[in-house]
């Protein structure tokens, strides 16, 4: 029973309640940064605690090796994004895209969103997990339509409807899960506690569990953006304000995938004795591969820069899903690492893209030209960020993809061909659009803007560090998480 969890989770909520009353948008921006910073500090404290004791549990929360690093990551990305968003939203407000009310809404919702993320990660109760993920939708949907353009409203509507339906299905899955649990656990209140269920997983009725898993997979899978449930994702990313895109891509998708993996652990336990023990894994592999390949092809037809990178997010989520589905220590480790480096890199890219769009005054790719001439730091940031996301060493994504490919080569060699093709296609898709944007001559009237690239540098620096050498403590965390998920260790 520890306070760190509570502080970590509820600081953003408090911040949100505080921000409701702040009218001065400048001060609100600063407060936003401070709240996020303190959340991050609390998360670090929590991490230390978890490092000392394997598991921190109590008050309906349960923090183990798997979710602690996601908690820290979430808090960290939240902080850097808030740092970026302070000046950026000032600029947005200055351009008149949104009003003072909009700004307030933005700040409140930002903190609420972080709160739901942390809650979903930290809770032990699958019901609360559902509530939190649904809450994430509700908090972000208004931000997607913040600019009130027809596109924005359309995107928000699609986001709302699709995720609402998905999440409803997830709730049905949860109910069915609870239904299955009731015949094993006598004390009904504990029937949704993940730890309890995990303990009794082998006794759960397999057929009901697989039924439940399908609903949960479709439900949370919608949030992860698995093809063919992904359609909301590019719209929401491209039309919302850039900081929102950064956290959506960097955090929300992770959390949804996290939920799926947690549930997969339960289902694997329940199905272990049946004749289809790997059902969940196979489903995940199928969805992952489909998303990976399809998203890679989508990249080739993009006209909007943020849309493009949201498709690349789908691609990477597909890769992780595939890895988790494949199971086995190596693949799982790779997937966990990939979660980490992908959200760091992708949020950095979105921040850079925000500046790029600011420079060009538009998000459409064919009007963004010659960035490294206009503003070298932004141009190079984008170039290097994309190189990192495309899996070039010495950045961390290369490490995780290297591990993933070798794991695949060991367990299912023939899938490597698909992975190879997919990576190549996605790579081509990214760079064919990136090239004219960063290189070439500067179009008339394209001016440098006051850009705050420090978050980007920090993120990319971290990714670089992870690529060159993974610090021991992190390696141990990931390894413990690997043990939790796959039952095997690497170290």
């Amino acid at each position: 029973m520890s306070g760190a969890v509570f502080v970590t989770v509820f600081t953003p909520l408090a911040g949100a309640l505080l921000l409701v009353w702040i009218r001065n948008r400048n001060r609100a921006g600063w407060l936003n940064v401070m709240v996020s910073a303190s959340t991050f500090a609390a998360a670090l404290a929590l991490a230390l605690e978890v490092a000392r004791r394997e598991v921190v549990a109590g008050g309906g929360f349960r923090v183990d090796a798997f979710n602690v690093y996601l908690l820290v990551l979430t808090a960290f990305v939240g902080m850097t994004t808030s740092i970026f968003s302070r000046p950026y939203m000032q600029y947005v407000c200055a351009t008149g895209k949104t009003s003072a009310r909009g700004m307030r809404l933005y700040h409140v919702m930002f903190q609420l969103f972080i709160f739901t993320m942390l809650l979903a990660l930290a809770t032990d109760n699958l019901g609360i997990l559902w509530v939190a993920v649904e809450g994430a939708t509700l908090t972000t949907v208004l931000l997607v339509s913040l600019y009130r353009t027809p596109e924005a409203i359309e995107a928000a509507w699609k986001y709302f409807i699709l995720c609402g339906v998905g999440i409803a299905l997830a709730l049905f899955g949860t109910v069915v899960l609870y239904f299955a649990a009731q015949h094993v656990i006598d004390e009904p209140a504990a029937g949704l506690s993940w730890s309890t269920l995990h303990a009794v997983a082998p006794q759960l009725e397999p057929s009901i569990m697989s039924l439940a898993f399908v609903f949960l997979l479709v439900g949370y899978g919608t949030k992860v953006g698995l093809v063919p449930l992904h359609q909301w994702l590019p719209d929401a990313h491209s039309e919302g304000p850039t900081p929102m895109s950064a956290v959506l891509s960097g955090l929300l998708l992770n959390v949804a995938l996290y939920a799926i993996v947690r549930l997969k652990m339960l289902v694997d336990g329940a199905l272990a004795a049946t004749d289809t023990p790997y059902l969940a894994g196979q489903l995940l592999m199928g969805f992952g591969l489909a998303s990976f390949l399809v998203a890679g092809l989508f990249l080739h037809r993009q006209r909007d820069i943020k849309r493009m990178f949201s498709y690349s997010s789908i691609e990477h989520m597909g890769l992780m899903t595939f890895a988790f589905g494949m199971g086995g220590p190596l693949a799982t480790f790779a997937a966990l690492l990939h979660m980490l480096v992908h959200s760091l890199t992708k949020s950095a890219i979105f921040v850079t893209v925000g500046h790029a769009a600011h420079i060009a005054g538009t998000q459409s790719i064919e009007h963004i030209r010659g960035l490294i001439r206009t503003q070298p730091i932004v141009g190079w940031g984008l170039l290097i960020g994309v190189a990192a996301i495309a899996g070039f060493p010495p950045f961390g994504i290369f490490t995780s993809e290297f591990l993933l490919l070798s794991a695949t080569m060991q367990s299912q060699p023939w899938f490597t061909v698909a992975l190879l093709v997919g990576l190549a296609v996605a790579f081509a898709g990214l760079f064919r659009h990136l090239h004219p944007m960063v290189y070439g001559v500067v179009p008339a009237g394209q001016q440098p803007v006051p850009a705050n690239m420090i978050p980007v540098m920090v993120h990319l620096g971290l990714v670089l560090w992870l690529g060159v050498s993974i610090p021991v403590f992190l390696a141990h965390w990931l390894d413990r998480a690997t043990g939790l998920i796959s039952g095997g260790h690497l170290l």
Partner: protein, 669 residues
């Protein structure tokens, strides 16, 4: 970290390269830094690498170290043995020359619009990457270094990014490099899953069945071949190499391709460690085709750097002919002959690094002083820049495989290996080797023709444009850089026995036996197989050549030595205009007619508005139509089909969710 002495200079080299990267960040403020600090550091790194390589070659031992980097269970390991030592030397010498040359060359960029840090910084990373590739002792570090090399060189290719063509070239280069990297990675994956680990030692221990071994071989061959520029995977090479700044082009063409050769040797000869004649045939065929097509396409070019790039394809082809024969002979248990072919390939690797670097530096000098890459506008440069002319001539003679320079030695060795084909049992293999030898001979002759064209059009005759007539001589540092490469071209031609004695450590270590007979008759005679079979007294030939020259000059000198200058006679026609000279295209026209089938030729005569006729000729690579465009078409179509998913109507999206749900429920029930 257990390090051993021989590795220290190598580590020093890498460190210096990285240091040059760091330093060059300051060149944004002070451009002079690039010239005064970065380039010297670069050449120092080259020196250190050369030293380390020589040390490794001389003692022939193996030194291993483990870096405190990488994954906890997969640390980065480095290893310095004879093979890597040899390639360290190659990298080192060329980059030393490039560093010296660069001092003068980068001055031209100081007033350009582009910021300088990328130029120096990525050059340093590029060098570091190549060094690490050669040093790596586990697949992880190897891949990291490999991709680092590709990525940094890509940034250098994209340095002049104003023209869309250059951007396209850079994109194509990075794309193919990435794909190649992935294939190599998969190849390692195969080895690792049998050897149970990514350390090279584990892979050496792996016992692969023929099927999987062939898979690994094909993957490695495809990946490294793509980097080396073997036909049909060469398309990026003639696009990317000319685009980069010339000293970088020199590095790429002269060194990076060799790193690919190193990778191939390391994986196939060392790690897989088993030889099959099927592999040999594959490599031999691809190699010969690359050699012939490379030189033919080179003949058709009139952009000097593009032409040189195509010659890289040719020479890589020759190297792989050697390697293919080595595989063939080793597979049929003719160890000695395999070694001869292997050594021939290695020797040609060194040679090509030297003279191709030299030629690219020369091209850079021309670009620097005349700002011209198009042969059609050059002419008479020998009078404007005599030293560059001399060095370039040396390069041309070497690459045309003419005695007494180095190119001839390796070609001679390759022929010697091929001439032992009669020892093979299967008539098919024998005739295959014979045909390969024929193609090699044809290639050599065509290369000579091509460089007569280059030198004759560029340096001889009369200037075909004003700015070339005004070309100014290049600074000393650039001449020195060329000289540094020209001298070894001569030395390797004069003293093959010495260098082969040095090389011997490599086959000793990789194949287990060297060329015992190489110097059976003393250092004057090179006798790779046996003194009876063949011998080449390079020093004596050179000596006799110079003696005969001296004699001739002396005899003539005694008589009237004065020469009267007059107008060209030209069969008594009016004194010819520069425009009447044979152009590069005209020179190659007969050959274009003879080999017309191999090119994709668009020729047209169109009338312009002012009524003048204009001849328009475009010779392009058939590989595009055959291999590349179909792929892009497939991807585009697939993307169009997939786009239907994103139809824009929320109800259809909901339909997708419903369908997915039902299908899944149906699956599990």
């Amino acid at each position: 970290m257990t390090s051993s002495g021989a590795l220290l200079p190598a580590a020093l080299a890498v460190g210096l390269a990285l240091l040059s990267t760091v330093v060059s960040l300051f060149s944004a403020r002070a451009p002079r830094v690039l010239r005064t600090l970065v380039m010297p550091l670069f050449s120092l790194a080259g020196l250190a690498a050369t030293g380390a390589g020589l040390a490794a070659l001389l003692d022939g031992g193996v030194s291993i170290a483990q870096l405190p980097l990488g994954l906890p269970w997969l640390p980065w390991m480095v290893r310095l043995d004879a093979l890597s030592g040899l390639f360290l030397c190659v990298i080192g010498v060329v980059s030393f020359a490039v560093g010296v040359y660069g001092r003068g060359y980068v001055r031209g960029f100081e007033h350009g619009r582009d910021p300088l840090p990328p130029l120096g910084g990525f050059a340093g990373l590029f060098l570091a990457g190549m060094l690490l590739v050669v040093l790596a002792d586990d697949a992880f570090l190897f891949m990291v270094a490999w991709e680092l090399m590709s990525l940094s060189s890509y940034f250098l290719v994209a340095f002049h990014h104003d023209q869309a063509a250059n951007r396209r070239a850079a994109f194509l280069y990075l794309l193919m490099a990435h794909i190649g990297g992935l294939t190599i990675l998969l190849g390692f994956g195969v080895l690792a899953s049998f050897g149970g680990g990514f350390a090279f030692d584990a892979m050496r221990g792996a016992e692969l069945p023929f099927g999987w071994a062939s898979v690994a071989f094909v993957l490695a061959f495809a990946g490294f071949g793509m980097k080396a520029g073997l036909v049909p995977l060469h398309a990026w090479l003639p696009e990317a190499h000319p685009v980069a700044p010339s000293h970088i082009s020199a590095l790429m063409s002269a060194v990076m391709l060799k790193v690919a050769v190193y990778g191939f040797i390391r994986v196939v000869f060392d790690l897989v460690g088993q030889f099959h004649w099927q592999w040999g045939v594959t490599v031999l065929v691809i190699g010969s085709v690359s050699a012939l097509l490379g030189v033919l396409y080179a003949l058709m070019q009139h952009d000097l750097k593009r032409l040189l790039a195509y010659h890289s394809v040719e020479n890589i082809g020759i190297i792989f002919i050697g390697l293919g024969m080595a595989l063939l002979f080793l597979a049929t248990s003719h160890a000695l002959l395999g070694t001869v072919a292997f050594v021939a390939a290695l020797y040609h690797t060194i040679n090509h690094a030297l003279f191709k670097g030299l030629l690219f530096l020369g091209a850079g000098a021309i670009q620097h002083s005349a700002n011209e890459r198009d042969l059609e506008k050059m002419g008479g440069l020998l009078r404007r820049m005599p030293w560059t002319g001399l060095f370039f001539l040396i390069g041309c003679i070497s690459i045309s495989a003419l005695p007494p320079f180095n190119g001839f030695v390796s070609e001679w060795l390759t022929f010697q290996a091929a001439l032992q084909a009669w020892q093979l049992d299967s008539g098919v293999l024998r005739s295959l080797v014979a045909i390969a030898a024929a193609m090699l001979a044809l290639t050599g002759a065509l290369a000579a023709a091509c460089f007569v064209k280059v030198y004759g059009v560029a340096f001889l005759g009369r200037a075909r444009s004003r700015h070339v007539r005004r070309a100014r001589p290049v600074p000393f540092s650039m001449l020195a850089g060329q000289g540094v490469l020209a001298l070894p071209c001569l030395l390797l031609g004069l003293l093959p026995t010495t260098f082969i004695g040095l090389l011997n450590a490599v086959p000793q270590q990789v194949l287990g036996h060297g060329l015992a007979q190489a110097t059976a008759h003393g250092w004057l005679w090179l006798t790779p197989v046996s003194p009876e079979t063949a011998s080449y007294g390079a020093p004596l030939v050179a000596a006799a050549l110079f003696a005969a020259l001296a004699l001739g000059l002396w005899l003539m000198g005694r008589g009237n030595r004065r020469v009267r200058r007059c107008d060209a006679w030209d069969c008594g026609f009016a004194p010819p205009e520069p425009g009447m000279q044979y152009t590069a295209t005209a020179f190659a026209q007969p050959i274009r007619r003879v080999f017309g089938l191999l090119f994709h030729i668009e020729e047209a005569v169109e009338q312009q508005r002012d009524g003048r006729l204009r001849h328009h000729l475009r010779v392009s690579d058939r590989a595009w139509g055959i291999f590349y465009l179909p792929v892009t078409r497939v991807v585009e179509n697939a993307a169009r089909q997939v786009a239907r998913l994103q139809s824009g109507n929320v109800r259809i999206y909901l339909g997708w969710s419903l369908a997915t749900l039902l299908v899944l429920l149906w699956i599990i029930a």
